[in-house]
């Protein structure tokens, strides 16, 4: 509703001038080098093969040199003409040499800010800043690359502006909610399906080797399986490396995640941007009592599968109690795990012979909770305020049994809430009520400029957690300024 007073004057100035304003900044000067080297490496690899085959090394060298020079020039041009800065209430990025392109990213629609540092970037002291705004298929504006300090400062400014407070507000303090110990991360990886498959593979090969020690067949089998083993190893390594040193912290800006061994990633998701959370427990983790938390955040999921997995993890592995506490933080005002559940009716056993007894759903005033899964268990939570649409679906078998399923649709991502196999009349009631609950919740939802709310309320209660001896509200507000 109210925009930051600091941005008013700037907006007026920028409206007049269409050429890039002078205060706009350039990306880090090493950008062309970082962006170009992979391209150059590919050229060398492909051209090199050719050259080795034909023996014309001289021509190859010249070609590579030409490519390098051309690449360097275009890279430098593109770097020179790419500038970013704040323009009114939006981040504006101007780019392009011949086709000028000016993009404005509306900050009130900001869903998440990530700072990623690929290995090469870490060595050179630069990082990439990604803004997620809902709607765009890909991340709206990956700013590649910025100096580390610049990226952190820009993130703070983005979050402050998006929150509706003064742009110069320093980065908000944070409180670590959860750290994943290394041994647990390793164990959770060991207890994953991919790892067990890999072990079975290797044992199988070993047995085969014992039986056919002399034959040539073994060698063939062995060599053909090696790529498979390497692939599994790489996947496991990626999983381990991705979630290495995982830290989840909370701050008035929302939750923050830091993780990664070689490539590090810092995510910040402002309050009220979580579209749904799923708590999952793979079969092998049950003995340890571990669970995983995945979130839907609009914008993250538009990315490819691998990326989506990378960005949608809220907790890679945690005990049930720790995960429950995190859930309460991410979805304030409710405790999804203590919502009373209502179980699927008996006829559901014809459609789900195993696990129909685990099918259940529950509703409180903030969220709808769906539980299912026998081997791999899952509890899905979707806030009413984030419900996009509600559907009833009834297939021919369900019709004969008098059942129907209700789907609560959310933004794309790993979280899907489907209330399966309820009596038809009940399903109809659920749909009507869910639509009504969603309507009411939307009105009471967190405003897009989430800090603006604290200024309006006389009794602010930021991060209202349950430690009874917390400081009085007024001083806790001062802590955060």
């Amino acid at each position: 509703m109210t925009s930051a007073p600091g941005s008013e004057a700037e907006g007026a100035k920028a409206a007049r001038v269409d050429p890039t304003p002078d205060h706009f900044r350039r990306l880090h000067p090493l950008t062309p080098l970082l962006r170009g080297w992979a391209f150059l490496a590919a050229a060398i690899a492909f051209g090199g093969q050719d050259a080795l085959r034909s023996g014309e090394m001289g021509r190859f060298g010249l070609t590579v040199l030409a490519i390098a020079i051309i690449g360097m020039i275009t890279g430098l041009m593109s770097w020179w003409f790419t500038r970013y800065g704040f323009d009114g209430g939006a981040l504006r990025i101007d780019s392009g040499v011949l086709n000028r392109r000016s993009r404005r990213v509306r900050l009130d629609r900001l869903q998440a800010v990530d700072i990623n540092r690929p290995l090469a970037g870490r060595l050179l002291g630069v990082s990439e800043l990604r803004l997620e705004v809902a709607g765009g298929g890909k991340a709206e504006a990956p700013l590649q690359y910025l100096a580390v300090d610049d990226a952190v400062r820009l993130r703070a400014e983005l979050l402050a502006r998006a929150a509706g407070i003064d742009a110069d507000t320093p980065e908000a303090p944070e409180r670590v909610v959860h750290e994943v110990p290394l041994d647990r991360l390793i164990w959770s990886t060991v207890l994953s399906g991919a790892f067990i498959t890999g072990v079975v593979f290797i044992v199988g090969i070993a047995i085969a080797f014992l039986f056919f020690r002399d034959s040539n067949v073994t060698f063939g089998v062995l060599s053909s399986m090696v790529p498979g083993i390497i692939a599994i190893g790489a996947a496991l390594w990626a999983q381990l490396g991705r979630n290495f040193a995982f830290v989840l912290a909370e701050s008035p800006d929302g939750y923050r995640i830091r993780k990664g061994l070689l490539d590090t990633q810092h995510q910040t998701v402002p309050p009220g941007r979580v579209q749904g959370v799923a708590m999952r427990q793979p079969l092998l983790w049950r003995g340890k009592g571990w669970v995983r938390l995945d979130v839907d955040v609009a914008g993250y999921s538009g990315e490819s599968g691998e990326d989506s997995q990378r960005t949608s993890t809220l907790l890679p592995v945690a005990t049930y109690d720790e995960a429950a506490e995190v859930l309460r933080h991410v979805l304030p005002g409710t405790d999804p795990l203590s919502v009373p559940l209502s179980y699927a009716p008996r006829p559901a056993r014809w459609l789900r012979p195993f696990g129909w007894k685990r099918l259940a759903y529950g509703v409180d005033e903030h969220v709808v909770v769906v539980r299912e899964g026998v081997l791999s268990r899952a509890i899905t939570t979707v806030p009413h305020a984030k419900t996009q649409s509600v559907r009833v679906v009834q297939g021919p078998l369900q019709r004969r049994l008098g059942l129907a399923s209700v789907a609560v649709d959310t933004t794309p991502g790993p979280v899907d809430a489907v209330i399966r196999h309820r009596y038809a009349a009940e399903a109809r009631t659920i749909v009507e009520e869910q639509a009504e609950r969603a309507r009411l919740a939307r009105k009471a939802d967190v405003p897009e400029q989430w800090m603006a709310r604290y200024r309006q309320q006389s009794a602010p209660a930021p991060a209202g957690d349950a430690d009874g001896d917390g400081p009085p509200a007024a001083s806790s507000e001062r802590d955060q300024e």
Binding site: G135, S389, R391, G395, G402, D409, E432, A438, R439
Partner: protein, 164 residues
Amino acid sequence: MDQDQLFAPPGEAWQQVSRKLVSLRRLVLLVSVTVCTAVVAVVLGLIFGLPAVLIAVGAGLVALVWGLWLIPRNWRAWGYAERLDDLLVTHGVMFRRLTVVPYGRMQFVDVASGPLERRYGLATVQLHTASPATDAKIPGLPAAEAARLRDRLSALGEAQAAGL
């Protein structure tokens, strides 16, 4: 009985889509089945001789009759209702669906009309939310009704728009 109530409209009756949709779909079916049957019959005829041709034509006829019977049923299953805060869409015979889309959740409205649809004066209106699973497509609307619906939906969507 209670099965039909599951997909009954709230309060008033469903608004139906144009009956012309049946003619349109029958035409599409007729052409596609004829072409497919002809191709299959010729190929099988060249390989296996006359009996195969008869079987292929027979199968084509059965598919045609079944389809012609199915199309009106499918048409009857389509329905939509505009409520104060949301749009309801229902469709499907085997797999029946009912979708409730709040206007405030609407991201954009698509109105599409292919060459064949245009000949029949029909258009398809589709509502998009931030969820790709939202299943709010209404085919076979008369062009004027489609335009009215589009305008009404976008006006309501703007008035009730909620952030993500």
